[in-house]
């Protein structure tokens, strides 16, 4: 698979200068964007279109610190990744018991409707889970420096990748539950579609 880091002429490291990345993105776009190849032969036009699509995709993936890590894992494991594919959702081990309670509350809300009391409880629970999700994300982002210093040592890499995967799995799980809670509260769920820009 194409290495997005290579597209930008970067080493496979997680700490990135976003301003430099943006500058490079604009440079590459000026070179490849179909607007500037309108008069070329059909083959060259098709090539520009493909190159431009790749640059856009690479930029979108790398500028966001979370999707950057997701992409890195896929790259290291040599498998194709679809944009929104994140780690398979799995609850954090230390939250298993709490999760059972949340599921129970959700079930109740579904069958009995949401009383003011139940709504308050669901909201409090959602607040806790949001905090935890942010913590998981922060931990993933904080892991960047560790990865960057270990990038040349194969032995050190695998455990780091595993830790990233665990945290991403927990985050994916938390997102699903948070969405379920929002839905039970009659609020718009943060659909997994889109808006993860930076």
């Amino acid at each position: 698979m194409t290495d997005y880091f290579e597209v930008f002429g970067l080493p496979r490291k997680l700490s990135l200068d976003l301003r430099a990345l943006q500058r490079r993105f604009y440079d590459l776009s000026r070179r490849h964007h179909p607007d500037f190849h309108q008069k070329a032969e059909a083959d060259a036009q098709a090539a520009a279109l493909e190159a431009s699509a790749l640059v856009n995709r690479a930029y979108r993936t790398l500028r966001d610190p979370i999707s950057r890590v997701e992409y890195l894992i896929a790259l290291e494991e040599g498998r194709e990744i679809r944009e929104e594919t994140s780690a398979k959702p799995r609850p954090p081990v230390d939250l298993l018991e709490e999760m059972l309670e949340v599921q129970e509350a959700l079930q109740e809300a579904k069958s009995d409707g949401v009383t003011a009391e139940a709504a308050a409880r669901l909201r409090a629970e959602r607040e806790r889970l949001e905090t935890r999700r942010r913590a998981e994300e922060a931990a993933v982002i904080d892991g960047a420096a560790e990865w960057d210093s270990a990038v040349d040592s194969f032995a050190a890499r695998q455990p780091l990748l595993d830790r990233f995967k665990q945290r991403l799995a927990a985050r994916a799980y938390l997102r699903t539950v948070i969405d379920d809670l929002s839905q039970a509260l009659g609020e718009d769920a943060e659909t997994h579609v889109a808006h993860r820009r930076h």
Binding site: H33, D35, N56, A194, H195
Partner: protein
């Protein structure tokens, strides 16, 4: 490379523009100096009439005059059922592409739009004195793939190669950016005749990067007019005891009257609407406050998309440096107030909101022609693209607000031994279930080598190009063989249908511009004659016998030549008739005003004798 023009194909008006030798974008006017071409197409017995002449005869010929056709582009008969109730022309019930019946023929929205595009093409050709066959055409940013495709089809039928489909708010930002009138983080609020878009861009060092876009392709000035017409119909019923809602000609008169009154209320606090019907003349004073009460719920519908766009761009309103207003409906003071409240900043419209989109299209055309090399436009796809999976759930392949061009790959296999074809259903939208999204097309992948179930690995590439339009390619990984794809567009025209329409347009085209102009002149003459006859019947007693005689003489003189072939004579006599009627028109207007001013309430004087 030959000349490329920029075209704004609008719901209410359309324009063509180009960048001149000095590098300045300019609107190309028609032979009469008019810059806006009303997007109205009349299928009269004498022939097809487009533009101002078609608009002016609308109330005379409502069943055969098509306006706001943009609202029907790329849609199915089923989804326009509600819309169809509000237009005087007949929409043929259908599960597929919308068809409009005019007399004994049926036309599709792309064919109607092609008439408008062809007129603009001829206008540009007359201006340059050379053929024009390439264009950049704008569409609402929130248009889906089917609506974009319909626009491209229209262009092809009109004999224009659409080199690029550009989003209207993005085009506007190019026009502003070229003149350095907007920099930093800008929000383009674009409310036109039938569509609404909000786009948020970062404009820096010649790079125009769209961060997020949102909108509603069925919300605009048309809806304001509709609200006013509903109110007027109720008023007429109360005051005159007449229900005109079933009379298409009267409804069209009211619609045109409501539209004009709305425009006047952008600069005046109150205005009087005077519409002479056959049995009575309707007069009504409308205040700006009354108009605002009617349209406020519609204006408020634009605010949600603005908030969503800000959220998708991950910006707060305070970070937005400038708000630019585009589209005629942004002249409405209430719209400006609401936008200002929402963003906490005064919006501006330094460039004419009716023209800025066409000017931007011309700038984009100039970029494609190589005339500008330091401007880079990075647009986004407005809607998420996905495929239907088991249980009717959508699996998203490309998220909304992804920079285009973009690409996604998906792998398919077979579920039965020896299976040689796989089908997939592609959709656009933000909902979880396939049935709640916009179905774009079903693809049949055939020619897969027979293998045990699950063995084939078919790689399907979904590519959204710089037009925001989908291209699909498939390849069986094991054999490397490209799989054949048959696309069945859900609400579009097939390749064969478009090819046929292109061919028809050559055989039936009023290739001769003069023939077209003659029909236009005749139509205009008929419109004026109808107005004059009505004015005579209603207010003839207000002028002297001599003046009446002058009018009837002019009327007869025009009537004698109106069906003939001499365009200049018809024009001269139409102008003469207009001039002869001026004193009568003036007196009728004064009477109406006097009555409106002297009465406390307009409805008091409207009581029937």
């Amino acid at each position: 490379m030959s000349r490329i023009v920029g075209i704004d194909l609008g719901t209410t008006n359309s324009l063509v523009a180009h960048v001149d030798a000095a590098g300045i974008p300019r609107v190309i006017p028609d032979a009469e100096g008019r810059r806006l071409l009303p997007s109205v197409v009349a299928y009269t017995p004498a022939g097809i009439v487009v533009g101002e002449a078609a608009r002016r005869q609308l109330a005379r010929n409502p069943a055969r005059t098509i306006y706001s056709v943009k609202r029907f582009m790329g849609r199915g008969g089923e989804d326009v059922r509600e819309e169809a109730r509000h237009v005087p022309f007949e929409i043929v019930p259908s599960d597929e592409v919308v068809r409009i019946r005019v007399g004994d023929r049926e036309v599709t929205p792309p064919e109607v739009s092609a008439q408008i595009l062809r007129t603009l093409k001829q206008q540009a050709e007359a201006h340059f004195g050379e053929p024009v066959d390439k264009a950049v055409i704008t569409v609402p940013a929130y248009f889906n793939d089917a609506q974009r495709q319909a626009t491209k089809d229209a262009s092809r039928i009109a004999g224009l190669e659409a080199l690029r489909i550009v989003n209207e708010p993005t085009a506007a930002s190019l026009a502003y950016g070229l003149q350095k009138l907007a920099q930093g983080l800008i929000a383009v609020y674009d409310l036109g005749g039938g569509t609404f878009d909000i786009s948020i861009l970062r404009v820096k060092d010649g790079v125009f990067e769209v961060l997020a876009t949102n909108g509603n392709t069925h919300l605009g000035g048309d809806d304001f007019d509709r609200a006013v017409v509903g109110w007027l119909l109720a008023d007429i019923k109360a005051v005159h005891g007449e229900d005109l809602s079933g009379d298409p000609e009267a409804v069209q008169e009211l619609r045109l009257g409501a539209e004009a009154a709305k425009c006047r209320l952008s600069s005046e606090e109150r205005t009087t609407l005077t519409i002479p019907f056959e049995r009575f003349t309707y007069r009504r004073e409308i205040t700006r406050a009354e108009l605002e009460r009617l349209i406020a719920p519609l204006v408020d519908q634009t605010l949600g998309p603005c908030r969503l766009a800000l959220k998708d761009a991950e910006l707060t309103r305070d970070q937005v440096d400038e708000i630019v207003l585009v589209g005629g409906s942004t002249r409405v003071p209430l719209v400006r107030r609401r936008v200002e409240e929402l963003f906490g900043k005064t919006p501006h419209s330094q460039l004419n909101p009716d023209e800025v989109v066409a000017l931007g299209a011309a700038v984009q055309a100039h970029i494609l022609a190589g005339g500008i090399t330091d401007m880079l436009l990075l647009d986004v796809t407005p809607l998420s693209l996905g495929i239907e999976t088991l249980g009717g759930i959508v699996s998203v392949l490309i998220a909304r607000n992804t920079t285009i061009p973009t690409m996604a790959k998906e792998y398919f296999t077979t579920s039965v031994d020896g299976q040689t074809a796989v089908d997939m259903h592609v959709l656009q939208g933000e909902r979880e279930l396939a049935k709640d999204n916009r179905s774009l097309a079903r693809f049949d992948l055939s020619g897969v080598d027979p293998m045990p179930a699950g063995m084939p690995k078919i790689e399907v590439t979904f590519l959204i190009d710089a037009n925001g339009m989908l291209q699909v390619q498939a390849r069986e990984q094991r054999t490397g063989k490209a799989a054949a794809i048959e696309v069945k567009p859900t609400y579009g025209l097939s390749e064969e249908q478009v090819a046929q329409m292109v061919e028809d347009s050559f055989t039936h085209a009023e290739a001769d511009v003069n023939a077209r102009l003659l029909i236009e002149t005749r139509t205009e003459a008929e419109t004026v004659m109808t107005h004059v006859r009505r004015a005579l019947a209603q207010g003839g007693h207000l002028v002297s016998a001599e003046e009446r005689l002058l009018i009837t003489n002019a009327l007869e003189a025009l009537g004698a030549v109106e069906a003939g072939g001499d365009r200049d004579v018809i024009r001269e006599r139409t102008i003469a008739l207009n001039r002869a009627t001026e004193p009568l028109a003036q007196i009728m207007m004064d009477t109406a005003l006097k009555e409106a001013v002297t009465s406390k309430r307009a409805d008091q004087i409207l009581e029937r004798p």
